[in-house]
C-alpha cells in the first residue's frame, strides 16, 4: 500500500466517521464541529487529487464561512448550555428512504460510469478553473451569482427592522 493510498484510507475513515457523528451526536454544536472535521477531510481528498485550489476553496467557504454561520444560528436559537436534541427527527423514515435511494444511485453511477484516468500531471488548476468559469461555464456561473444575489437581497429584506 502506497503512502497515497494510506492517506486516502485515513481521510476516508475520517470523513465517514465524522459524517456519522454529525447525524448521531445529540449536541448541535458538537455536530457542527464534526461537520468541520468532515469538510476538512474532503479538503484533504482534494489535496490528494492535486486540486489544491478546490481544497483551499473548501476550507475557505465551507469551513470558514458556512459552518460559522451554522454555529451562529445554533447559538442564537438554542440555550447557551446546549441541551440534548432528540436523535431522530419526526420525518426520519422519509428522510432515510430518500438518502438510501440517493446512495443506490451513487453506487450505480460509480460502478457503471466510464471514468477517464489520465497519467498527465494536472496543469495549473487555478488558471484552468478560472478560464473555464468565464468561458465555457459562464452561463451557470452567472446564474449562480444571480441566485446568490437574490438570496442576499432576501436576507436583507427579512432582517430589516422597520422600527429603527
Amino acid at each position: 500500500m502506497s503512502a497515497h493510498q494510506l492517506a486516502f484510507l485515513v481521510l476516508g475513515v475520517l470523513i465517514l466517521v465524522s459524517a456519522l457523528m454529525v447525524v448521531t451526536v445529540r449536541n448541535l454544536v458538537h455536530a457542527a464541529l464534526f461537520l468541520i472535521l468532515c469538510f476538512a477531510g474532503v479538503a484533504g481528498l482534494y489535496v490528494l487529487l492535486q486540486a489544491e485550489f478546490l481544497a483551499v476553496a473548501q476550507v475557505l467557504i465551507y469551513i470558514g464561512a458556512i459552518t460559522v454561520l451554522i454555529l451562529f444560528g445554533i447559538m442564537l436559537t438554542r440555550k447557551i448550555t446546549g441541551g440534548a436534541q432528540p436523535p431522530l427527527a419526526s420525518h426520519w423514515k422519509a428522510a432515510g428512504a430518500g438518502a438510501g435511494a440517493f446512495l443506490l444511485l451513487l453506487l450505480y453511477v460509480a460502478m457503471t460510469g466510464q471514468w477517464q484516468v489520465s497519467d498527465q500531471p494536472p496543469m495549473d488548476s487555478t488558471t484552468t478553473l478560472g478560464l473555464a468559469l468565464v468561458t465555457r461555464y459562464v452561463l451557470p456561473f452567472e446564474l449562480a451569482s444571480v441566485v446568490l444575489l437574490a438570496a442576499l437581497v432576501g436576507a436583507v429584506l427579512l432582517a430589516r427592522d422597520e422600527t429603527r
Binding site: 436559537t77 438554542r78 440555550k79 447557551i80 448550555t81 427579512l158 422597520e162 422600527t163
Partner: protein, 400 residues
C-alpha cells in the same frame, strides 16, 4: 403584540426562547416572531462601571431596552455616623464620601455647619479654601476625563491625565499632608495656612504648565474622529429631563442649563472672582466631556486670580474662634457647594448639643446617576458605557 413584559429570563443566565417582547414592537408578519431579551448584570465587578455600580441591563441584541442602576454596595451609613460625632470630629468622615474630590466634601460640610452655627470664616481661610477646591476640581475632572477615554478604549489620555493630576496631588500633599483624604477645610476655616516658598513656586509653575498639557490631552480625544463618533449625539439628556431629575454639575450644564452653585448660591470668595459658567447646548456625552475640560480651564483662570489675592490678603488667622467645640443652637440649615460633580449639599438639624441631630447629604453623584435609567434606554451596550462615563458617578458619594 406582546405588550406585557413578563419576567422569563432566568437568573442562571440561560438564554431561552419566548421571552417578553419589546413594548413598542411593530405588527407585521416577520415581527410576530418574539425574540429573546438578554438580561445581563453589569457590575459590581465590571471594568467600566466606575466603582461598585451594578446595572441590570436588558438587551435586545446589542440594544439596551431597560437599564436599572443598583446601588448600595459601598453604603457605610455616613449620615448615621454623623449623629454620634461632634461637629468637628465628623469632618474626617466627609473625606470618604466623594473621595475623588474630598475638598468639596470638606467644604460642603464646613459651609453647612458654619451656616448653622453662624461662624465667620477668616478671609485668608476663604482664599485657601478656593485655591484647594479649584485644584481639587481640576484633579477630579482629570480623573473623569482620563477614565472616560479609557472607557472608550483610548488608553493614552488616561495616563496623561493622571500625570497632571499627580502634580496637583503633590501640591495638596504639601498643603495638608494627604493626597486623597485631606480633611483640610475645617469647620470655621482651614487646618493651616498655605505653605510659602517652594509651594508657591510650584503652584505658579503648575498654572503655567497645565493649560498646554490639557490642550495636548484634549486633542487626543476631542479631535479624534472615533471619539467623536462614540460621543456626539449619544446619550442625549434634554434640559427638562435634567432639571426634573435634579441633576447638577457638568451633567446639567452639558444640557445647556447654566446652574453653578458658585454663581447661583454664592459662597466663600466666589462672588469676587471672575469665571464663566460653562455650558453646552447639546446634552450629549460629548457636551458633558467638553464642559469638564472647559471647567478645568476656568479653574486655572480662578487660580490665577487667587495667586494675586495671596499677595493681597495678608496671612493671619485661618480658623474662626470657637470652631473646635462648636455647639450650634437648635435649628436647621442647608448649604451647598459646587463639587466637580454638581451641587453637593448638606442639610443639618441641631438639637443644641455638640453633635448633629440629623445630617442629610445631598450627593450630586447619586442624583446624577438616577438619570441613567431615563437616558440609557434605546442605546447600544457600548453607548451605555459612554453614558455612564459621562455622568461620572463616584461611589463613595452615591452610596454614602
Amino acid at each position: 403584540m406582546a405588550t406585557e413584559t413578563k419576567q422569563t429570563s432566568e437568573p442562571d443566565g440561560v438564554l431561552r426562547l419566548g421571552g417578553p417582547g419589546l413594548a413598542a414592537e411593530p405588527t407585521g408578519d416577520i415581527h410576530e416572531i418574539e425574540t429573546d431579551h438578554l438580561e445581563v448584570s453589569m457590575g459590581p465587578q465590571h471594568p467600566s462601571t466606575h466603582g461598585v455600580l451594578r446595572l441590570k441591563v436588558k438587551l435586545d441584541g446589542e440594544w439596551v431596552t431597560e437599564v436599572q442602576p443598583e446601588i448600595g454596595y459601598l453604603h457605610r451609613g455616613v449620615e448615621k455616623i454623623a449623629e454620634n460625632r461632634t461637629y468637628f470630629q465628623f469632618l474626617t468622615i466627609t473625606d470618604r464620601l466623594d473621595y475623588v474630590a474630598a475638598m468639596a466634601c470638606n467644604a460642603a460640610y464646613a459651609v453647612a455647619v458654619e451656616k448653622l452655627a453662624g461662624l465667620t470664616v477668616p478671609p485668608r481661610a476663604e482664599l485657601c479654601r478656593v485655591i484647594v477646591q479649584e485644584l481639587d476640581r481640576i484633579a477630579s475632572h482629570l480623573v473623569s476625563v482620563g477614565t472616560y477615554g479609557l472607557d472608550l478604549g483610548a488608553t493614552s489620555p488616561f495616563i496623561y491625565a493622571f500625570r497632571d493630576r499627580e502634580t496637583i496631588l503633590d501640591l495638596l500633599e504639601m498643603v495638608c499632608g494627604a493626597r486623597l483624604t485631606y480633611s483640610y477645610i475645617r469647620v470655621g476655616g482651614v487646618a493651616r495656612d498655605l505653605p510659602e516658598g517652594e509651594w508657591r513656586t510650584r503652584f505658579r509653575q503648575f498654572l503655567d504648565e497645565f493649560p498646554p498639557m490639557l490642550d495636548e490631552q484634549d486633542t487626543l480625544l476631542s479631535e479624534n474622529e472615533i471619539f467623536l463618533l462614540r460621543t456626539r449625539g449619544v446619550g442625549v439628556l434634554p434640559p427638562e429631563v435634567a432639571v426634573n431629575y435634579g441633576t447638577s454639575g457638568p451633567v446639567l450644564r452639558g444640557s445647556g442649563v447654566a446652574y453653578d452653585v458658585r454663581r447661583s448660591k454664592p459662597y466663600g470668595l466666589y462672588p469676587q472672582l471672575d469665571f464663566n459658567v460653562v455650558t453646552r447646548p447639546t446634552g450629549d456625552c460629548l457636551a458633558r466631556y467638553q464642559v469638564r475640560v472647559e471647567e478645568m480651564r476656568q479653574s486655572v483662570k480662578i487660580l490665577r486670580q487667587c495667586d494675586q489675592l495671596l499677595d493681597e490678603i495678608p496671612p493671619g488667622e485661618v480658623l474662626a474662634k470657637g470652631a473646635r467645640g462648636v455647639k450650634p443652637a437648635a435649628g436647621e440649615a442647608y448649604a451647598s457647594v459646587e463639587s466637580p460633580r454638581g451641587e453637593m449639599g448638606v442639610y443639618l438639624i441641631s438639637d443644641g448639643s455638640n453633635k448633629p441631630y440629623r445630617l442629610k447629604w445631598r450627593s450630586p453623584s447619586f442624583v446624577n446617576l438616577s438619570v441613567l435609567s431615563a437616558i440609557g434606554r434605546g442605546w447600544k451596550v457600548a453607548d451605555l458605557v459612554a453614558i455612564i462615563g459621562s455622568i461620572d458617578p463616584v461611589f463613595g458619594d452615591v452610596d454614602r
